[in-house]
């Protein structure tokens, strides 16, 4: 069993109200480290056995088609060690 990770983030030019809300809440709590914050999604997909090439290609396709909306988002597929 392995875990494939898909990370989906809003494109940089798209407004990110959630990230903004976090960025402005941090200083109120006394945290001043952040220059900027963006919030995205993270999918942990458990697959049987070691992920194969075809499987990864399928995940890419699913990330493109379902997990992200290419109009506003980008995605990255990773295999968790």
């Amino acid at each position: 069993m392995a875990t494939i990770i898909v990370e989906v983030m809003l494109k940089p030019e798209i407004l990110d109200p959630q990230g903004q809300a976090v960025a402005s809440a941090l200083p109120r709590l006394g945290f001043n480290f952040a220059k900027s914050v963006r919030q995205g999604k993270r999918f942990e997909i458990v697959v049987d056995g070691e992920p194969t090439h075809t499987q990864l290609a399928e995940v890419e396709a699913a990330a493109e088609k379902l997990l992200s909306n290419p109009v506003i988002e980008t995605y990255v597929v990773k295999v968790e060690k």
């Binding site: 798209i14 407004l15 109200p17 959630q18 809300a21 379902l66 997990l67 909306n69 109009v71």
Partner: protein
């Protein structure tokens, strides 16, 4: 005139949309997401709600329903489609309309009586309004902030494809105060405000929304 309303798992305003069609004098036909049968309707409404809980992205999963395959093909040939709220989100996810709807600026669900202006009266769904008419219709959504690339916005504005615009104040951070748009052909319209909840003064803030439904009936007669 047979107008269909699709029920997806999690659709909520389907019964109100059916009622609006009836009150406008049309024959309201319930359609189910799992079948690709459009039952010979002449136009279709994708109603509001939280289809599939809207857990992934609003409309992302419904877009793949069998009924949507039929609707997408028909829409590309000029079949009139109105997406309201979640229906608008499904239309953008289906790429029948450009852009996307993201979380409201203040991150809250907002339910309020919203003044909007009608900016395009050439669509089959808005022909009964007068250009620039100010109407009051409820909005009720958590992800109603319209976003699109600069080119898309320029195209929408340049071609007069903004159908509804928020008046007075922008409730959610939508670009250019956009509350509703249409496709290049003008048959597919998506709006965030809920015209089907403004059809009787007893239960809504106005009766302004009924004109969406009388408009489509007139358009079908005129065909």
């Amino acid at each position: 005139m047979r107008i269909g309303v699709v029920t997806f798992p999690g659709s909520l305003d389907d019964s109100s949309a059916l009622r609006a069609i009836r009150l406008a004098g049309g024959e309201a036909v319930p359609l189910f997401h799992a079948s690709d049968d459009l039952k010979e309707v002449q136009a279709v409404v994708l109603p509001g709600g939280f289809s599939y809980g809207d857990y992934l992205r609003c409309g992302a999963i419904s877009r793949f329903a069998p009924i949507m395959e039929s609707i997408i093909v028909a829409a590309e040939h000029g079949f009139p489609v109105l997406g309201i709220c979640n229906g608008f989100q499904i239309l953008t996810e289906s790429h029948l309309l450009p852009g996307a709807l993201i979380r409201n600026q203040d991150l809250h669900f907002i339910c309020t009586d919203q003044p909007v202006t009608v900016e395009n009266t050439n669509t089959p769904w808005t022909r009964g309004y007068t250009q620039g008419q100010r109407i009051v219709i409820p909005i009720k959504n958590g992800e109603g902030s319209y976003q699109a690339s600069a080119e898309t916005l320029a195209e929408l504005e340049g071609e007069g494809r903004v159908v509804l615009r928020y008046a007075d104040k922008n409730p959610n951070g939508s670009q250019n105060n956009i509350a509703g748009i249409t496709n290049a052909r003008g048959n597919v319209v998506g709006v965030m405000p809920h015209p089907e909840q403004a059809i009787e003064s007893l239960t809504g803030p106005s009766e302004d929304g009924l004109i969406f439904f009388s408009s489509i009936l007139q358009s079908l007669v005129a065909r």
